[in-house]
């Protein structure tokens, strides 16, 4: 019996856990007690994170589709086929007709290699991953205001904060161990302000719960800033010394007094004033946000508004302050850091800057493309336009996760060649021409970067099941076959290359990550101890920029035909497209089927009772779900989690995207609801 310390593969908290191994079998999990994030606790997903690893449905050998059916193949055959197909498509069209999806579930090393593969081997910048769907507005938005798109402060600071302002984050369910720190802070006297249209567990503990209408975050934040300016809580010396563009910003803010905001957001002006005063007066005030802010067509605007609020009150660049986007995937921070994005290399170095491109060209010894590539949401449109002919998807499941999935399905069908590399046969993999079996987090070494920028080591606990291989080995093999030699003996050699070329990771090498649970980037040299909070004394980009934001309504508003607002999200017992948790008995059992939360008043008017089935339709599709009548959702709004294959909420969602970040508006679309008369044959 051995216990291997590693990092949880679920959310961005990055909790430490031990995998228990006996004779090559995983027998359990336990939390790391001295870990700074989870301190001996785990959420239900963490506690059960071992079960899917040796599940019998794991992909065990490569599969090649012959006449519409998958046939077992050897690695040699599969790699040779992919290499020749990709080379062929690259020659007969051009490199940009190939698109690559990297993965926020894979390690930093693998994401780095994938981005190297796309740029150096294929010769395209068409690489993206699911950060596009969750925090692309953060990455872009905060780069413009602060110069660095990551959580500014650390999780361990939360408990000592005096005010916690949580907007658009269901923290106790989606980042449970961060939620724990928040509740601890509340126990110690901190004031908690939650802004969320839904009632959530964390809002039960809020001193002020602002239930604004979905999609009106900008108005809410602007009016809070309006109060702060009008009542004189602005930190003038800070604004003079460290920021720019205040005047233009102030002009816009003056248009949003609380009584105007009350009409748009539905939040009483008294509550807005209270929240503004509490947040502004206290020095140790932390602002948190998550998908409720980012997944809108105004995602970047929302992020800018949050950043403005932090700068206005000088709640940044100090411990126990800051703007703290909570990242959703175990390594979504790392995948962004490693440059699995269409416009940047690792460390957010722009592909369009010729000095930087030259640096990478020297290191990789290949000519590199300089035009930014397609984003994930644009890729599927481009397939239908005929511009993209082949796609390589590593560890993602766009057929569940992307908005308007019928559109995605159509696109996948049209591809000349699709490779999916995953641990299970996902919905997307079924459309692939070649499926490659990848190893899970328990079967490989590497690093994950959690939401607080902490780069932590994961360690191999068992041998990969069947013939599956770690993603980095697959990429190396394929790359070699395509005539570009990638040779690394182990993952620490890849990290060495990352450190060499990435300023913020320069001091991050595997041997330094063994003690004290990793390092928080930026870490500039081998003696640097990491950075617990960003923007101390100076913003990463120099001066912080106020960017004025005006209210733009959601892309789709309710009307007579579609009178309800649909907002989507996750639930505690499930995770994303459920490839892992539906193979975990406890998690699967708790929520076996999809449901929709609907307010009692709305339910009454439609004749819907608890557990009755209802048809929810939008302009794009329709699903049947079980009603859960609850006042968790406000009147006129329904909530549906997006994890379920049988009733995929993303059949309904609107693919309208933020103009710059290209993040889809998952949080708002218009739907109609009809009661489905109960019949015996319906699924129980």
């Amino acid at each position: 019996m051995n216990k291997i310390p590693t990092i949880c593969p679920y959310c961005g908290c990055g909790c430490g856990l031990y995998l228990h191994v006996e004779d090559g079998n995983l027998t359990g999990v336990s939390p790391i007690r001295s870990h700074p994030v989870n301190k001996g606790t785990l959420c239900v997903k963490g506690w059960n994170s071992f079960e899917f690893i040796q599940h019998h449905e794991r992909l065990k050998y490569p599969l090649i589709k012959v006449n519409g059916e998958f046939k077992r193949a050897s690695w040699g055959e599969a790699i040779a086929l992919i290499a020749s197909k990709l080379t062929g498509i690259k020659r007969s069209y051009r490199p940009d007709s190939i698109a690559i999806m990297s993965s926020a579930k894979c390690t930093n090393e693998e994401n780095y290699l994938m981005m190297k593969f796309a740029r150096a081997v294929i010769g395209t910048n068409n690489i993206d991953h699911c950060a596009r769907l969750c925090h692309s507005s953060t990455v872009g938005g905060l780069a413009e205001t602060f110069g660095s798109g990551a959580m500014t402060n650390s999780i361990s600071e939360i408990v000592s904060a005096k005010v916690l302002f949580v907007i658009g984050s269901n923290t106790t369910e989606q980042h449970p161990m961060i939620g724990m720190h928040m509740l601890d802070a509340v126990n110690r006297g901190a004031i908690l302000i939650v802004a969320d249209p839904r009632k959530t567990q964390i809002s039960d503990f809020a001193h002020i719960h602002l239930r604004h209408r979905c999609g009106t975050d900008v108005v809410l934040l602007d009016s809070i800033m309006n109060v702060i300016i009008n009542e004189g809580f602005v930190d003038i010396p800070f604004i003079r010394r460290r920021t720019e563009n205040f005047d233009a910003f102030e002009k816009v803010i003056l248009r949003y007094p609380p009584d105007v905001a009350e009409k748009i957001t539905g939040v009483s002006s008294q509550d807005i004033k209270k929240a503004a005063r509490i947040y502004a007066i206290e020095k140790r005030a932390m602002l948190f946000y998550s998908m409720g802010i980012t997944q809108h067509i105004t995602g970047v605007d929302n992020v800018h508004a949050c950043a403005n609020l932090c700068m206005l009150t000088a709640h940044i660049g100090q411990p126990m302050t800051g703007l703290n986007p909570l990242r959703g995937q175990n390594n979504v921070q790392g995948a962004c850091d490693m440059g699995a994005l269409p416009d940047v290399y690792s460390g957010y170095q722009k592909v369009s800057e010729s000095d930087i491109k030259k640096k990478f060209e020297h290191l990789w010894r290949r000519r590199l493309p300089s035009r930014p590539g397609l984003t994930l949401t644009e890729m599927f449109d481009s397939i239908l336009d005929g511009k993209i002919k082949a796609m390589y998807i590593m560890g993602e499941n766009p057929l569940m996760s992307d908005p308007d999935v019928s559109h995605v399905k159509e696109a996948l069908k049209k591809l000349e060649f699709l490779v999916v590399q995953d641990i299970f046969m996902s919905e997307t993999a079924e459309f692939a021409h070649v499926v490659l079996p990848a190893a899970t987090f328990a079967e490989k070494d590497g690093t994950f970067t959690n939401t607080e920028r902490r780069v932590q080591k994961i360690r191999q606990a068992i041998e990969p099941v069947g013939e599956s291989m770690p993603d980095w080995k697959i990429i190396c093999a394929l790359s070699k076959k395509m005539g570009y030699n990638m040779e690394y003996r182990a993952t620490h050699e890849i990290m060495e290359e990352v450190a060499l070329i990435t300023p913020s990771y320069r001091g991050i090498l595997h041997h330094r990550l063994d003690s004290n649970f990793g390092l928080q980037w930026p870490c500039h040299d081998l003696n640097h101890q990491g950075t617990p909070f960003l923007h101390r004394k100076k913003f990463t980009k120099g001066l912080g920029t106020f960017i004025p934001v005006d209210y733009i309504p959601p892309a789709e508003e309710t009307d007579k035909r579609f009178p309800f607002l649909l907002t989507t999200g996750r639930i505690y017992f499930r995770y994303h497209t459920a490839t892992m948790c539906q193979r975990t008995s406890t998690l699967e059992r708790e929520y076996p089927e999809c449901y929709a939360e609907i307010n009692p008043k709305d339910a009454d008017s439609l004749g819907i009772k608890g557990n009755s089935m209802m048809r929810v339709s939008s302009r794009r599709g329709s699903i049947i779900v079980r009603a859960q009548v609850t006042d968790k959702v406000p009147e006129g709004t329904i909530f549906i989690p997006f994890h379920f294959r049988e009733a995929s909420a993303n059949l309904l969602t609107n693919p309208a995207v933020d103009p710059s970040a290209k993040i889809p508006e998952y949080k708002v679309c218009a739907v109609k609801i009809e009661l489905v008369e109960s019949k015996r044959d319906q699924k129980d």
């Binding site: 939390p31 007690r33 079960e51």
Partner: protein, 348 residues
């Protein structure tokens, strides 16, 4: 049976090395940073004895989180129960008390073959706690810091030597071949042990009176508004049950490899999940969280004493460490006991 022997500390590693030839040796080892985890001992000198509580409890060696029960195929059923010989060294007194109760639960009226098979092949060497953790409260429950019975072998750390007490047949077996390593105890040794016990008892930070809490519940002084607040803080992680040395719930699942063969597994389960009591026809008898959180405390504080005459808690303090909502047994029991006027559960 409760014979005493004395073992010089310098002879411990030799003894363990000899025992390891017969069975696998598991002990408290350094994990990450200051963590202690029980795992197979590679280097005996790396065993850490004076240590904080390990997570999870040693019940994992008798009742693992995931256990293969049997494999089935056309040719029949192959029992996969564990029967490896194991010596588990350095277990705390509270955990031994818990295992004594587990033996009664799994070995009582309905014998659990899988548990008993492992149990009969496992020997525990426990050690009295000279330095209880800040989360410990076994002292109020008689389940520690030192035991007078129930153990196979109990060590008491007397500075340069251990007082070795033998409490069972199994215990005697692993000593009798190495009797030359031990010496007979003198009165001084027992005096020193008594001193160690007193000194340890004085170090407890927590004094939790579960009996008072039980009486308050039984006399109807704790109403649902209290449990409502407790439930509100529950994260539904299951950690308290997973870690508890006395929780015994499991779920049985089948993994069909093909239509004709597969494996049946059992995995830890908890009564805190609403699916735990789910019934056919989509009925969820304990859908409200308050029913489930309340039941956990009631099981430990009311039903356990009714069934076994003992609390379903040995005061190991693990739930204090692992509960993200801070509604662990120690916190809640003391709140009930204190008769918190505001009737608020959980937290600070």
């Amino acid at each position: 049976m409760n014979k005493g022997m004395v073992l010089e500390k310098s002879k411990l590693s030799y003894w363990l090395r000899q025992l390891r030839k017969e069975m696998s040796l598991i002990g408290p080892m350094r994990g990450e940073n200051s963590d202690i985890v029980f795992k197979t001992v590679e280097n005996i000198h790396e065993i850490v004895l004076d240590c904080p509580a390990s997570i999870p409890s040693p019940k994992e060696f008798l009742f693992p989180q995931k256990e293969k029960m049997f494999r089935y195929s056309k040719d029949g059923v192959e029992n996969l129960r564990g029967n490896k010989g194991r010596l588990i060294f350095g277990v705390r007194s509270c955990d031994i008390s818990a295992i004594t109760l587990l033996d009664r639960f799994y070995g009582g009226k309905f014998v659990d073959d899988y548990y008993m098979s492992r149990r009969n092949n496992t020997i525990f060497i426990s050690i009295g706690c000279n330095n209880p953790d800040i989360t410990c409260f076994c002292i109020g429950l008689g389940s520690g810091p030192f035991l007078s019975s129930g153990f196979d072998i109990q060590l008491s750390d007397l500075g340069d030597r251990y007082l070795v007490e033998i409490g069972s047949k199994h215990g005697l077996e692993i000593i009798k071949d190495f009797i030359h390593l031990f010496s007979r105890p003198k009165k001084l040794d027992y005096d020193d042990q008594y001193e160690a016990i007193l000194s340890s008892q004085a170090r407890f930070e927590k004094r939790i009176n579960l009996e008072n809490a039980r009486q308050k519940i039984l006399s109807g002084q704790v109403n649902d508004s209290f449990w409502e607040v407790v439930a509100q803080r529950c994260f539904e992680c299951g950690g308290c049950v997973y870690e508890c040395p006395l929780c015994t719930c499991f779920n049985v699942i089948d993994r069909p490899y093909s239509p004709t063969d597969g494996v049946r597994l059992r995995v830890w389960d908890t009564c805190l999940f609403k699916g735990f009591t789910k019934m056919a026809g989509n009925i969820w008898p304990a859908e409200k969280k308050i029913m489930r959180t309340k039941r956990w405390y009631f099981h430990k504080l009311i039903y356990y004493p009714e069934q076994f005459g003992k609390f379903g808690c040995v005061g190991c303090g693990r739930c204090t460490i692992t509960c993200p909502g801070r509604i662990d047994m120690a916190t809640i029991a003391s709140k009930i006991d204190m008769g918190d006027r505001r009737r608020k559960g959980g937290g600070g």
